[in-house]
Symmetry: C2
Subunit: 243 residues, 2 copies
Amino acid sequence: MKQNKYDDPKFFAEYSKMPRSAGGLEAAGEWQVLRENLPELLGKRVLDLGCGYGWHCQFASEQGASLVVGIDISEKMLSKARELNSAENVEFLNTAIEDFKAAPESFDVVLSSLALHYVRDLAPVFLKVAELLSPRGIFCYSVEHPVFTSREQQDWCYDDEGNASYWPVDSYFDEGQRTTNFLGSEVVKYHRTVESHFKALVSAGFELESLVEPCPSPEMIKKMGWQDELRRPMMLILRAVKK
Amino acid sequence: MKQNKYDDPKFFAEYSKMPRSAGGLEAAGEWQVLRENLPELLGKRVLDLGCGYGWHCQFASEQGASLVVGIDISEKMLSKARELNSAENVEFLNTAIEDFKAAPESFDVVLSSLALHYVRDLAPVFLKVAELLSPRGIFCYSVEHPVFTSREQQDWCYDDEGNASYWPVDSYFDEGQRTTNFLGSEVVKYHRTVESHFKALVSAGFELESLVEPCPSPEMIKKMGWQDELRRPMMLILRAVKK
């Protein structure tokens, strides 16, 4: 059974309060870096895996994509997406990433923002992405960084005054399920190594074009009080081209 | 001034006692994985950057390389290399990695084992490696993993009984010098992110073919008591091809 945490009313209510939910892309610390790593979208057919509120779909539409499809397992997320980001040419579909089907070469760009760490098995999803993409199509995604996901706690070690002492890593090579606390709820994520991301891409027929460990900009760090974000990598952005 | 720690008699004496020094490649936890990632060496011209005792040069020679050049900044290491690994076709040169010069396209394979974290600036070295390689030449190297090098202490956090509690990460995005304790001596290494390795390779004209976070084999873990090696990545192996 695939997890559909975002349809849980309590979790959804908490998610709605996050800066990136209320403020959209500009409030997401990694957005500028993700944006730099996206290909030209003008005239492209774009698929967004785990589209959430649809902010990235809206962006693709504004960039002149010819077609945008956003999929998400959560109907609550899609309702909000239809309300907030209802640009023309954007279609939202209620389906799990693992279950989505479309004709081969239906898309030129597949993107995914912070959703693939909820997927148990990357290999079949990446094979499907390769099949869905046109020749030389681009797959660009962000996930939580393996340094961030290695322990179930996914939190700092703190000193007696409550300051973050350092970020603890453990069980790094023990890939698989992590039941962690996110926004006050239990959420299941899947930890995997950097090597596993690379191998899953190469095995599916991709060449890696970018590997980025994004930091928020100095301005955002200051504005949001995110100084600790420079102390450990929280996210990983990968861009690959179908060979 | 480039560091030449291995010519320090005390440090060299300690290094000589390490399993990998006394036992060669088979005593190095990452060797099997590095070996799997090396290309076919038969008939190839091979350069080893920071060759140390020359174990990898010896291996290349045994695999039928037509020429093997091992370079190292430490004359003590090279003396030992000439004594232990003096196969025909192997030439040892006393020079820093940063200072080595040869004609363009002089080599088909450049390898480096656990030496490049002593190099301050990767970019000029990688550009030189690309120049030294023939078209479609292979660059394969291991370094200490960024998770391992982020803090100067480069050690576990321990509980009251002296057991490793977890591996602390800090200052991850603060790239540069780390003065750390290795074998009872102060040694300067350079911390950089996974992203920086990838970017330095791509900027020098390489395509990444492998990204591996090696673990010792289950047999070695048992034999050597290395159970903690599964808890955090210690090394990174990258193989790239000149485009």
